[in-house]
């Protein structure tokens, strides 16, 4: 763990792996909810870091956190959501080819994976989901699409994600869902908030 001061009111904590980020993020939430962390306005996990913004004395807080014993995250820890998916994405055949399986086997592989929202970004409610075994990591498309439909389930590198709204994107599209990923009138607004575990189930029929 490395702690870096960011300006007068923020602290960046750098870790070695996505698992360590998830574990520290869970510990930060636990201590914040228990009133042990002190005031913090934003707690932003990312690929290898957690940012604490709106803190009073970043250097002192960093020194304190560096002394913590952070327990590894249990696979069952955190809220879980189930998202029904139709496996109708335009890149399904290509992803199956990259995986060396038949397209009909893709839903089983995705469905057997417990994903976790590592962090959000790109657009409100877009979560970067980790958990897919390394042999199923796929590259981005050579040419990004100018418009990816809202609700597309997509893969790129170590991540899976679902587009909350139509936007340009270079990820491989394997399916689609009607789940509402983002609703500012809902609490929480993002279905995929950091730390949430996600299971994708195959939706019945071709709807």
């Amino acid at each position: 763990m490395r702690t870096l001061v960011v300006g007068g009111g923020a602290l960046l904590i750098e870790l070695d792996s996505a698992d360590e980020v998830a574990a520290l993020h869970a510990e930060l939430l636990r201590r914040r909810d228990a009133g042990e962390l002190g005031p913090v306005r934003d707690l932003v996990p990312a690929a290898r870091t957690v940012l604490l913004d709106g803190v009073r004395d970043p250097a002192a807080l960093g020194a304190r956190i560096a002394r913590w014993e952070v327990p590894p995250l249990a696979p069952t820890q955190g809220p879980q959501v189930t998202v029904p998916v139709r496996y109708d994405g335009p890149d399904l055949v290509e992803v199956a080819r990259l995986w060396g399986v038949a397209p009909r086997e893709v839903p089983g592989i995705v469905g057997a994976t417990v994903f976790r929202v590592a962090f959000c970004g790109f657009a409100p409610g877009f979560g970067y989901l980790t958990g897919l075994p390394e042999r199923f990591h796929v590259p981005r498309r050579g040419t990004p699409r100018t418009a990816v439909p809202a609700g597309s389930l997509a893969l790129a590198g170590e991540y899976a994600g679902v587009y909350p709204r139509s936007s340009p994107g270079g990820w491989q599209l394997i399916g689609s869902t009607d789940a509402v990923l983002w609703d500012p009138d809902r609490e929480p607004a993002a279905l995929f908030a950091p730390g949430v575990r996600v299971r994708f189930t195959q939706e019945d029929g071709r709807g």
Partner: protein, 289 residues
């Protein structure tokens, strides 16, 4: 007649802004909010609004509005001519806008961003506690267009203070931004960091609510190759893309970014000045601890 204003001339880029929606960065939501925080606060104070009431932020060429009911307005930020139904009125002071009258906020004489507060505040529906337009992710009210109706809220208990000293610094003719190094200053060579304090950049015309871009200075040189995994970004972060020219993150900045941050400009007067800096004006960074 309903309270509020009708947009007659939307201007180059006019948005509804308040103090933004900090606290949602973990969901991918930018902070947003008025760029020149002091000018925005003064506009609200001049019309007796709460400090977080929504106002308009204009860009360079003002805005034209028709009052649907009599109200009080104030224009602050970039100095500009203000007229009501063709008659010149005070800038930086509360002015009475009769029902049916047209408020013309003219082109900025200096600076970039003007603020138009209306008594009662603009009553656009809040999203995650804020009425700010977020250009990066598309949250909040749409950018102003001709014919749009801007409802106003009920006036609060505070009186309109009448004439009020306008204690704002004028828009800058040059920018000196205090910069506290880190978190990724070690991604740049010692020599180029030393050179940073001497280098004079220019404000680029590519600047917007997301960031103040620079050009024409001595680019920073990377001390290490490779990519930085995306990490959380703060307001005022100075990101350095591969061309070596610093970008100062303003209110609509993305919540994460993948270019190293050489340092942070503290929010407050320095970023307010950055919001008013026109393309071409010189920018320097001054080391701050």
């Amino acid at each position: 007649m309903a309270d509020g204003l009708l947009v007659v001339r939307p201007g180059a880029l006019t948005t509804v802004q308040d103090r933004g929606r900090p606290g949602y960065a973990h969901l991918g939501v930018p902070r947003s909010g008025a760029l020149d925080t002091a000018a925005y606060a003064l506009a609200n104070r001049l019309v007796g609004n709460a400090p977080d009431a929504a106002a308009l932020e204009t860009t360079l060429d003002g805005v034209g509005l028709r009052a649907l009911a009599a109200t009080t307005v104030a224009v602050t930020g970039a100095p500009c001519p203000v007229r009501i139904s063709g008659r010149p009125v005070a800038w930086g002071a509360p002015v009475r806008l009769p029902a049916g009258a047209e408020l013309e906020v003219g082109r900025a004489e200096s600076g970039v961003r003007g603020y138009v507060a209306v008594r009662g505040g603009l009553a656009a529906p809040p999203v995650l506690g804020s009425r700010s337009t977020d250009l990066l992710s598309g949250l909040g009210p749409p950018v102003l267009s001709a014919g749009m109706l801007l409802p106003a809220g009920p006036p609060g208990p505070d009186p309109v203070p009448g004439a009020d000293a306008c204690g704002l610094p004028g828009p800058p003719s040059r920018l000196v931004l205090p910069l506290r190094l880190g978190p990724r200053a070690d991604w740049f060579t010692e020599a180029s960091l030393t050179g940073l304090w001497r280098s004079e950049f220019c404000v680029s015309a590519m600047s917007n609510r997301i960031g103040l871009r620079t050009e024409a200075g001595t680019p920073l040189v990377r001390a290490r190759a490779g990519e930085l995994p995306s990490e959380g970004m703060v307001l005022g972060a100075v990101q350095v893309p591969p061309d070596g020219l610093p970008v100062v993150f303003l209110a609509d900045h993305p919540v994460t970014g993948g270019y190293p941050v050489v340092g942070v400009v503290p929010p407050g007067p320095a970023l307010d000045a950055a919001a008013q800096a026109r393309p071409g004006i010189p920018v320097r960074f001054a080391r701050s601890r």
